[in-house]
């Protein structure tokens, strides 16, 4: 894992000095803020049974395909286009450390944006404490559950982005590929939302696949658990496995460039 820490710092620094990241983050947060504002204003008239904070989690999850490409598309595609990946590979750096460093930097940035999004209810709480309490913003478990859900899904989303970026020299292609893969992922989750599956007795192949793809097709249903502060460990594990899968694929692609 030689070089991981330095790659991570370098990438994070790169994200902080890139105007594209700021522009994307600004628009993303602005749209999310406007959406959240409308949701809170009309919350009393909706039949939303979950805590209002969950709307922010759903908004961040479904908005991720628009944000994650901006965080990950440059990572390998730009390095390959400029040729700096070659210079990087001439240093004693492990390819997995390289992939991991770039991924963790984008994940940290994604989490940072999620935390900035969490400032909306926080500001509401500071400005209007009574209303905030009536909306349940004083329930810490809602915050923690939502944060873990976003971190787990953010990990796999950014891993998909890093993998897409390793496939091409063109960062626009990498961005579009990330957007497509994440949209497909969310579409599968949305179509399976609310469908009940009994994972108690896995007998056939279908059940086995269901268990393996648990958070892929049941992720949104599981979001309900996280929203009320119940941490579904299997969902977190699924996301970790998914992240490792895409990071390994990206590493193999980088290793393949040597041949």
């Amino acid at each position: 894992m030689s070089g991981y820490w330095h790659i991570f710092r370098h990438e994070l620094f790169g994200l902080f000095i890139s105007p594209a990241t700021y522009v994307a983050s600004f628009y993303f947060l602005a749209l999310l803020g406007i959406g959240f504002n409308f949701f809170i204003e009309g919350f009393a008239r909706t039949d939303w049974i979950l805590p209002p904070l969950s709307s922010l989690i759903v908004g961040l999850t479904f908005g991720a395909p628009a944000l994650v490409p901006f965080l990950t598309m440059r990572s390998f595609a730009e390095e390959r286009r400029l040729g700096t990946l070659e210079t990087l590979m001439s240093a004693p750096v492990d390819p997995f450390a390289l992939v991991l460093g770039k991924w963790s930097a984008s994940l940290i940035f994604f989490i940072l944006i999620c935390m900035l999004a969490f400032c909306f209810p926080l500001l509401l709480w500071l400005g209007f404490p009574d209303q905030a309490i009536s909306l349940g913003f004083n329930q810490v478990e809602h915050w923690v559950g939502g944060f873990i859900f976003l971190s787990a899904f953010g990990a796999s989303f950014t891993a998909v982005g890093i993998f897409s970026s390793s496939l091409t020299k063109n960062q626009m292609v990498a961005g579009m590929l990330t957007f497509t893969l994440l949209t497909l992922y969310l579409a599968v989750m949305a179509f399976n939302f609310g469908e009940y599956r009994d994972f108690g007795s896995p007998e056939g192949l279908d059940e086995f696949i269901d268990i393996c793809l648990g958070s892929l097709n049941q992720g949104l249903s599981k979001a309900q658990h996280f929203a009320v502060g119940i941490i579904d460990v299997s969902t977190v594990l699924h996301q970790i496995v998914l992240s490792l899968l895409f990071l390994t694929l990206a590493t193999l692609k980088i290793e393949r460039l040597k041949h």
Partner: protein, 349 residues
């Protein structure tokens, strides 16, 4: 460094092969480079120079063969090898949005330097490449080609490498900047081994101890300048400036060397003298013998005498010419077709 240590190979390559699709880029090359040696890698475009250098720096893997750098096998301990190497890639790709000092800091960290040693090494690398403090604070994207090239060389020198691989280091540099690069290599001569790939033959000739000439993935010549001159040029050419008549001078020369040929004579402006160019197959010793005899001859007046040694360009062209003639564009050996097939009308009959 003593002679024994210098003989120890820092690079040892045996039968290295690499193929890119249909193109066989390296066809089993073998060579070694001694400790502290500066070796020039020459060859036409597509000869396999960059491929060899990229394999040695661990960026790409060879298909077969063995390459050892500092006694460590590249295939087995690639990461270990990279610690001993400083590499400047062709076209020197650098991140545009970093300042020079930030970039060198990052590279030093990756190469395992830390604390005061890191600061010291960065300072030394900046000094070695004549990069002032003012330049080190500027963004790489705003630097001229020459400064960018120097940043790349500074990066290659950062971690006290035992082997520095420079792929086209002076491309796009002005003569002053090229001279700085040469001076830098001169300063480190003996302590660090250099592999220098360049198309600027005068530069290679000026600073390299030895040259390796590649063509179509094969080594077509290897040795010191003197070795190469002996290998490819079998005639010694010398020039005499004299006021004597052509016939008198030629006769005097032929008295010493029967086989000496007068190639051409040109009048020297204003002086009413002529410059005569002779060639002999007997070597430089015979040319010097001719000079002594001509000087002693009272009837002759010799103003200048010069043995013209063939430059690297002549050697390079001769070394690569034969190889080019025998290969097609994919680097395969050309098959000479029977004459009958060249003429379809005859073939049909």
């Amino acid at each position: 460094m003593n002679a024994e240590a210098k003989r120890l190979p820092i690079v040892d390559v045996i039968n290295l092969r690499k193929r890119y699709g249909l193109v066989q880029a390296l066809k089993g090359i073998s060579f070694s480079i001694g400790n502290g040696e500066i070796v020039g890698f020459l060859g036409p475009n597509g000869a396999g120079k960059s491929t060899t250098l990229r394999i040695l720096s661990g960026i790409i893997a060879a298909d077969s063969g063995e390459a050892k750098v500092c006694g460590v096998d590249l295939a087995e301990e690639e990461g270990e090898v990279r610690k001993h190497i400083g590499f400047l890639a062709e076209n020197n790709p650098l991140p545009e949005d970093l300042r020079v000092i930030e970039y060198l800091n990052f590279r030093a960290n990756l190469k395992g330097l830390a604390g005061s040693r890191k600061r010291e090494r960065i300072r030394l690398a900046l000094d070695a490449c004549d990069l002032e403090r003012r330049i080190s604070e500027r963004k790489i994207g705003n630097l001229s080609k020459g400064f960018r090239q120097r940043v790349g060389i500074a990066d290659a020198l950062l971690a006290e490498p035992r082997l520095v691989i420079l792929d086209e280091p002076t491309i796009g540099l002005d003569p002053r900047q090229s001279a700085i690069t040469r001076k830098m290599m001169e300063r480190l001569r003996g302590d660090v081994s250099f592999i220098l790939s360049s198309h600027i033959l005068s530069e290679v000739e000026a600073c390299c101890d030895r040259m390796i000439i590649l063509s179509h993935g094969q080594i077509v010549a290897e040795g010191t300048m003197h070795d190469l001159q002996k290998m490819f040029i079998n005639k010694t050419v010398f020039e005499i400036v004299s006021s004597n008549r052509r016939i008198d001078l030629h006769r005097a020369v032929r008295q010493i060397d029967q086989n000496c040929e007068l190639l051409y004579d040109d009048p020297v402006e204003i002086s009413k003298k002529s410059r005569y160019t002779f060639s002999t197959t007997e070597g430089e010793g015979k040319a010097e013998e001719i000079l002594r005899a001509l000087v002693q001859n009272e009837l002759l007046s010799i103003s200048e005498f010069q043995i013209s040694r063939p430059d690297l360009e002549t050697i390079f062209l001769r070394a690569t010419k034969k190889n080019w003639e025998n290969q097609d564009y994919l680097g395969r050996r050309k098959i000479s077709r029977p004459k009958l097939l060249d003429s379809p009308s005859i073939h049909l009959k």
